[in-house]
């Protein structure tokens, strides 16, 4: 297994987290489905996981970077699981509309659990290569674009969150944007 392969798999991981965030934002805008506080935490989990991949691409693969990605995805998965449990009892309703049969919090749990397994596999590949702790960074053309996409996605989350909640708390069941004067600020 070459260092270039794991580098590309890190690019894939970073692009995947960015795409998940872009998709969630696109759905929010297209269907006017505002994220609840737990939904925001799930997005923040994707962001924390993506930072691990970004560190790997910029500074080379390192166990600490993989640990960052795994812990970030774990925190996001905990928020997702909480929301799944809130709605798991029949008749307890759901939040938002489903996509391909599952609600977004279920998708978030599946993807974040998959991210943890993905990082474990990448760590295994790194160990098999003989560089158990650290590996020098690899330069390729796609990494800066993947990094830029991720940063844009994080900035979008920040702006969307500010538009919805300002710098205060978000309501549990948001109905509009604070910035546009259509939201309520009670929790």
């Amino acid at each position: 297994m070459s260092a270039l392969l794991t580098h590309r798999l890190n690019v894939l991981g970073l692009v995947g987290t960015a795409l998940a965030l872009f998709f969630a934002f696109g759905w929010q805008v297209a269907y006017h489905e505002l994220p609840c506080p737990l939904c925001m935490l799930q997005r923040a989990g994707f962001v924390a996981a993506g930072l691990g991949f970004l560190l790997n691409l910029r500074f080379g693969e390192h166990l600490a970077h993989y640990a960052a990605a795994i812990l970030g995805a774990g925190i996001g998965a905990a928020a997702s699981l909480r929301q799944v449990l809130l709605h798991i009892v029949p008749g307890s309703g759901a939040y938002g509309s489903p996509f391909l049969g599952y609600h977004f919090y279920t998708w978030a749990f599946i993807l974040q659990t998959a991210l943890i397994a993905y990082c474990a596999l990448l760590m295994l590949v790194q160990w098999r290569r003989g560089s158990a702790e650290t590996a020098p960074p690899v330069r390729c053309g796609s990494a800066p674009w993947a990094g830029l996409a991720f940063v844009v996605a994080v900035a979008l989350m920040l702006l969307a969150g500010f538009a919805e909640c300002g710098i205060g708390p978000c309501p549990d069941d948001p109905v509009g944007y604070w910035l546009l004067g259509t939201g309520k600020m009670s929790d």
Binding site: P37, L38, M40, L41, R43, A44, G45, V47, A48, L51, G52, L54, L55, R58, F59, A64, A68, L71, G72, I75, G76, A78, A79, R82, L85, L86, I88, V89, S92, G147, F150, V151, V154, A155, M157, L158, G161, F162, C165, I167, G168, P169, C170
Partner: protein, 52 residues
């Protein structure tokens, strides 16, 4: 609570990555993770109507 705080600290971490400051980037990642955990406790520790 300021729900957008983890996104702001993550952006600072991205800035540190871009500047080549690995230690600072990891520190800001840690702040991001800590805020996420704190917000998780705030929003997700009420009792569930489930027998777990």
């Amino acid at each position: 609570v300021i729900i957008i705080l983890p996104f702001a600290t993550a952006l600072v971490a991205c800035w540190c990555v871009w500047r080549g400051q690995r230690g600072a980037a990891l520190a800001w990642w840690a702040v991001t993770a800590a805020v996420n955990v704190a917000w998780l406790f705030y929003h997700a520790t009420s009792k569930l109507n489930l027998g777990l």
